[in-house]
């Protein structure tokens, strides 16, 4: 089992304000890690740090060589502007291959094939020429995952992916992520508010409150103070 990302006493933050303090954790190949915590607890900052958008202020962050080469697939929080963006599904998906491409202005045949296979995996080949803004929320998320898979199929980081989806779309979405994790071997790191929903899916939970309140398996998490409070009740999970 390869370790993809290791954090040892890492601090992330901006200028004179640390948003994540003294975090020690690791992400192994094939993991399904879920990051939970209140608003402003440093979840998004952690994501930016892992993606290399901000440098750690202290501690040691090690990213495996293979990840550094291919990069990490990223599913950002959707913005309001995106929801009515005039673009076809294919245009959005193939834009995920940009990081592989150096300075060539046009897409190569290999990149087109990559986009096709990503759309195939996500079951959106049939709507490839549809307009992104006319899709349902769940379909939009599939498109964005396909785009992230074009960047890499090793690891995905998802930032609050189920926000704004209706309940059935959320269940669809979890099923899809689980399938990618189990069948395609994609390592998943998901930031979510929906603790009750993800605790049955993930194999690791990180509860962040600036510092890591908890890092371990879901079963252990259910027994901790923080976990019980978040899950609401003794057994919490449905």
């Amino acid at each position: 089992m390869n370790t993809l990302i290791t954090c040892r006493h890492v601090d992330f933050g901006y200028e004179n304000h640390d948003a994540v303090i003294d975090l020690t954790m690791e992400v192994n190949e094939g993991d399904y890690l879920c990051v939970v915590g209140a608003n402003g607890s440093g979840k998004s900052t952690l994501v930016k740090g892992l993606l290399g958008l901000i440098k750690p202020m202290g501690g040691e962050l090690t990213v495996a060589e293979e990840l550094r080469r291919t990069g990490i697939g990223y599913l950002p929080q959707q913005t309001a502007a995106q929801r009515d963006f005039p673009a076809t599904v294919r245009e959005v998906v193939i834009s995920g291959t940009l990081n592989r491409r150096g300075n060539r202005p046009f897409y190569s045949a290999a990149e087109k094939r990559l986009a096709d296979s990503a759309m195939e995996k996500l079951g959106i080949t049939g709507i490839r020429n549809h307009c992104y803004r006319e899709l349902s929320g769940g379909q939009q998320q599939r498109v964005l995952i396909a785009r992230a898979l074009c960047a890499t199929s090793r690891m995905l980081i998802l930032d609050e992916p189920v926000t704004g989806l209706d309940p059935s779309a959320i269940q669809d979405f979890y099923r899809l992520i689980r399938r990618l994790n189990r069948e395609e071997g994609v390592t998943i790191l998901m930031v979510s508010h929906d603790v009750a929903g993800v605790i049955g899916q993930a194999n690791r939970i990180l509860h962040l409150q600036q510092r890591a309140l908890f890092f371990g398996t879901p079963d252990e998490y259910r027994r901790t103070e923080a976990g019980r409070r978040y899950l609401g009740g003794e057994d919490g999970c449905p």
Binding site: Y74, Q77, E91, N99, P105, G123, G126, H130, E134
Partner: protein, 335 residues
């Protein structure tokens, strides 16, 4: 035909046409990314700043362009920075800056020269404004904008669609922001004296908004915006010549007409697709939910139905799956 031949016999009109076509094209292309990234008001803000700078230049007796271009580029940086930092709401910041710049221009003008025709033409535009050197500058500008869009088209798409993802993929997003800001600033300064400070932002906003009524792909919107901008400009200028109306305002009215026309066309197209009878077969109908109706149905699916559908979908294979779900439910509900 004879009207056009007559118009082109005046050298100042030839210059106005040549410069105007290039500037409209640049404004429209840059406008697509500005509008989609919710920066539409930047064009408006920059034109007011440009008005302030030009009035000061006229009052001091300096050449207008060398003064106003740097000032407006600076303002463009400032506006982008404010937007990125998010410390102040960007629309409020733009409104504040543009009003202040306008006020500076008006005060300086009234203290020195008074409201001359020069200054008033900066407000509402003048067809005489396009000088030979302006046309040369417009050639350079449009070469830069077209070059950027041809070479970096896919990056522009990525940055416009999703800044965070592009950053994570290693695209230098701030570089593209700066280039866009500089090119927009130059476009605004050049176009402003012909279109007028109050009207120039329409060149940025209208083509993109109009194209978005009908076209569904980014490529379609970009191409259509460019073509539309040039066509509307030419029609507007001709109308201005024939009816002796102000050039800038005429172009804006033609833009508005095109917008309404495209809006209507878009509504008709959507209606046709929505009313396609269910089960008419073929890839198009199978492709599923469109717009509001599809989404509404989807929300009414119960978890159990969703699960059953999902199973069915997975058995049937991937392609039709994602699309067929909501439609299936719609049918069931009708029964």
């Amino acid at each position: 035909m004879s009207v056009i031949a007559e118009m082109l016999s005046y050298p100042f009109l030839v210059r106005a046409f040549a410069g105007g076509i290039m500037i409209s094209l640049c404004a429209a292309l840059l406008g697509v990314t500005l509008v989609l990234r919710r920066y539409s008001m930047i064009g408006d803000g920059l034109s007011h700043v440009s008005f302030g700078a030009l009035s000061v230049a006229v009052a001091a007796g300096w050449a207008p362009l060398p003064v106003s271009i740097p000032v407006v580029i600076l303002a463009a940086f400032l506006l982008l920075r404010i937007t990125e930092n998010g410390r102040m709401k960007s629309d409020a910041a733009i409104a504040m800056i543009s009003a202040s710049a306008l006020a500076v221009g008006i005060v300086v003008t009234s203290l020195t020269t008074g409201m001359t025709t020069d200054v008033s033409s900066y407000m509402f535009g003048s067809i005489l404004a396009m000088s030979r050197s302006d046309v040369y500058l417009a050639v350079v500008l449009s070469a830069a904008v077209l070059g950027l869009f041809v070479v970096c088209y896919h990056r522009i798409f990525a940055v416009t669609f999703d800044e965070s993802f592009s950053k994570a993929a290693g695209i230098n997003v701030s570089f593209y922001n700066v280039v866009t800001a500089v090119l927009t600033a130059v476009t605004i300064v050049l176009g402003m004296r012909m279109m007028g400070a109050m009207l120039i932002s329409s060149l940025v906003i209208f083509p993109a908004l109009t194209s978005m009524r009908v076209f569904k792909s980014f490529r379609g919107v970009v191409l259509s915006s460019g073509i539309l901008a040039v066509v509307c400009f030419c029609v507007g200028m001709t109308a201005s010549y024939v009816f002796s109306t102000p050039a800038g305002a005429s172009v804006v009215l033609v833009d508005l007409g095109a917008f309404l026309l495209f809006g209507l066309a878009g509504a008709v197209m959507r209606r046709r697709i929505r009313w396609q009878p269910p089960g008419a077969g073929g890839k198009r109908t199978a492709a599923g939910p469109r717009g509001g109706a599809g989404r509404g149905n989807r929300q009414k699916i119960t978890a159990g139905q969703a699960a059953r559908q999902k199973d069915a979908v997975e058995r049937r294979g991937t392609e039709a799956g994602a699309a067929a779900g909501p439609r299936g439910t719609a049918g069931r509900r009708e029964n």
